[in-house]
Subunit: 336 residues, 2 copies
C-alpha cells in the first residue's frame, strides 16, 4: 500500500489528511479486528467480567529489526508477558508510534505487520493507537509504547509476599539470548552469529504455572536480566536468593560473546523468558509441565530462596559463591 | 528528593538500582494512589461495572513547559478528554516516560508533580508507568505516552452515525489558545504575550452535554483544530458542515498572532475544548448549560450540519464562503 522509498513526513503526524491515510492504509490494514475503530477517540471493550489488569511499556530497541524479532513483535510480547506473569489473560493492546521525520515507510509497514501478526498469535486485539512525528534529529527512528489490558480469574493472585524460604526458582529457557542477539545485530564488534532473540509470548508457561498450587510469583526477566529479578525479590522479601551456576541454562554462543566483551548473561535482557517462584514440593511438577511445552525443553530449576542476609548469590560450578549485586551502570542501552 | 542540577543517565533506564530509586523517589511520590504498586508488572483495577473504554496518546510538545501547562498536565488532560468525549468517566491512566540522557532531574520532578496534580484534579489514578532512557541526541528531551481507561454507563453511546442535517455544532470556548501559547513560548519570532494554553479537562462539559437528549457526538479539537474535527465529521457522514465566522470565539491576541504569521486559528490545536454536535431543538439548552460552567462563558453555537456536497465551509463575516480543506502540511510540529 506504500510507494517504495516513501518517507514519513511531519504531516503524517499533524492530524490531517496524510495522518488519516497512514492510519487507514497502513495501521488499520495490519491491526484489523472487531474492536478497532480508527475514527473513534477511545475504543469500546464492552463489559468485562473478572478482575482487570493494566500495564504499560516503552520500546526503544536498536536496531529496530533483529534476528528473531523487531520492535513491533517485541512491543506485543513484552506487554502480553507483563500481564501473563501477573496471572492475567491478555486481551487488548494499545500501540503508540513515535516516529522520526524521514523514517522509511516500508520499514514502518513491516513493523506494523509484525506487531499485528504477533497480536493475533497471542490472541490479543490492538484496539487503539496514536501516531506522532518528531522533527529529524529529535528521535531514534521509531519508538513504540504499548499498554495492555487483561482479565484475571479469581484465585490467580500472585505476589512476592507469598514467597517463603525453601521455595524454588525456575526459568523456562536459556537466558541472555535477546540481549546478545540485539548486540550482534548492531555489528559493532565485528562479531557474527546465528543467535536469535527469544522474543515470544510466555503466556503458555504462565498458564501452565497457574495450574500449580504452590506457585508464588512470576516475573519476566527483561531489562537487567535474571539477576535483576532475583535482586528485586530479595529486596522486597528480605530473603537470600541463591542461583546455581551449574543449573542456569546459557547458550554456548551467548557465553562466548559475553566472555569476550565482558558482559554477564545473568544481567542481559530476555524477552521470552519467565522466572517463577514455586514451593519446593511443586517444583518438579512445574518443571515437567514447562519442559513439555514447545520450546521449553531447556527449562530449569536454577535457584532457591533461603533465610539469611538479603542478597543474591551465585553458587559457582567450582563451589564458590559470587555476589550478584544490583545493576548500576547500563551495559547495553536501547536493548528493549 | 533530587539533588539540584542532577541529570538523567542511561542507568536510570536499565532496570537496576538507579531506575528503582527514580521510580520510588520521584514518580511514586507524585503519583501516589491506592491502585499504584511500583513493584508489580501490571496494576490491578479490580472488577469494573459498565462498559470499558480505552485510549492512548503520545505527547511531544515543545517546549515542555509553557504558560498554562506542561507536558505532564497536557498528557493527563489529553487522555482524560479522549475518554470524556466518548461518553466515559475517566478512571485510570498509565504514563510512559521516554527520557533523553542528560535531561534535567528538577524539570522531570516538576513535570511528574504536574501530571500527578492534574490526575488528582480530574479524579483519575495513575496506576502504571514505564521509564526508558535513550542516548543523548536520540530524543527530544522528554516524550510521554499516556493510556486511559474509563467506564461508560448504558445509554451514553455517541457517534458520528447519529449526526443528521440540521444539527448544530457547539464549542465550549475560544479556539487556538493552546497552539498559539506554545508557539509564543518558543520565542522564535520575537513575539511576546500573556496568552495561556487552554489545557484542561473538558469532563464537566462532557458530563453536562450527556444530560442533553439530543447530543449526537463530541470530539476534542486537538491536532488540526476545529477545522479538522469538522472535516472528520464531513468525511464520515457525507454531510456538509458550515461554520459561522462571526460566531466562532477566537481571542484577539490569537487572531493577531495568526494574522501576523499566516496561521489559521481554526487549524490550531486546542487542549481544553470540546466540539459537540447536538439536535437543533436542544442546542440552546446545551449552550446555556455550558455557559453556566466555570470558564464556559464564551461557549458558542458556531455551525450547522447541512445536506449537500460533503465539505467544510466557513461563512465569513462579510457573507462570503471559504472552503476549509483537510490539513496537509504541518504548520506547527510538536504542538501537543
Amino acid at each position: 500500500m506504500t510507494a517504495s522509498g516513501a518517507k514519513i513526513t511531519l504531516a503524517h503526524g499533524n492530524g490531517g489528511r496524510f495522518m488519516r491515510e497512514l492510519v487507514r492504509n497502513l495501521f488499520a490494514k495490519h491491526f484489523a479486528n472487531a474492536d478497532l475503530d480508527i475514527s473513534a477517540d477511545a475504543a469500546c471493550l464492552g463489559s468485562v467480567a473478572g478482575t482487570i489488569l493494566v500495564t504499560t511499556d516503552g520500546f526503544i530497541v536498536d536496531p529496530l529489526e533483529f534476528p528473531g524479532g523487531d520492535i513491533g513483535s517485541l512491543a506485543v510480547h513484552g506487554t502480553v508477558n507483563d500481564l501473563a506473569v501477573s496471572g492475567a489473560t491478555p486481551r487488548w493492546l494499545t500501540l503508540s508510534f513515535l516516529i522520526e521525520e524521514g523514517f522509511d515507510m516500508d520499514c514502518l509497514d513491516r513493523i506494523a505487520a509484525s506487531a499485528g501478526a504477533a497480536a493475533r498469535a497471542c490472541g490479543v486485539s490492538i484496539v487503539a493507537g496514536d501516531t506522532k512525528v518528531v522533527p529529524r534529529g529529535q528521535g531514534g527512528g521509531l519508538y513504540l509504547t504499548a499498554s495492555g489490558i487483561g482479565r484475571r480469574e479469581a484465585g490467580s493472585v500472585l505476589g512476592m509476599s507469598l514467597i517463603k524460604p525453601g521455595d524454588c526458582l525456575l526459568v523456562n529457557g536459556p537466558v541472555g539470548d535477546h540481549g546478545t542477539a540485539v548486540l550482534l545485530a548492531r555489528h559493532e564488534f565485528g562479531l557474527q552469529g546465528d543467535l536469535r532473540s527469544d522474543s515470544a509470548s510466555i503466556l503458555p508457561y504462565a498458564q501452565a504455572a497457574l495450574e500449580i498450587s504452590g506457585l508464588r510469583f512470576m516475573r519476566d526477566p527483561t531489562r537487567g536480566g535474571i539477576a535483576t529479578v532475583a535482586n528485586e525479590i530479595s529486596l522486597e522479601t528480605g530473603l537470600r536468593i541463591v542461583l546455581d551456576e551449574a543449573m542456569l541454562p546459557v547458550r554456548d554462543q551467548v557465553r562466548g560473546i559475553c566472555d569476550m566483551l565482558g558482559y554477564d548473561p545473568l544481567y542481559l535482557a530476555c524477552e521470552g523468558r519467565v522466572v517463577a517462584i514455586v514451593a519446593e514440593t511443586d517444583a518438579a511438577a512445574m518443571l515437567a509441565a514447562w519442559r513439555r511445552l514447545p520450546g521449553g525443553e531447556l527449562a530449569a530449576l536454577v535457584g532457591h530462596v533461603e533465610t539469611g542476609r538479603p542478597c543474591v548469590v551465585l553458587r559457582t560450578e567450582l563451589g564458590g559463591e559470587r555476589l550478584l549485586g544490583e545493576l548500576e551502570d547500563d551495559p547495553l542501552p536501547r536493548i528493549c
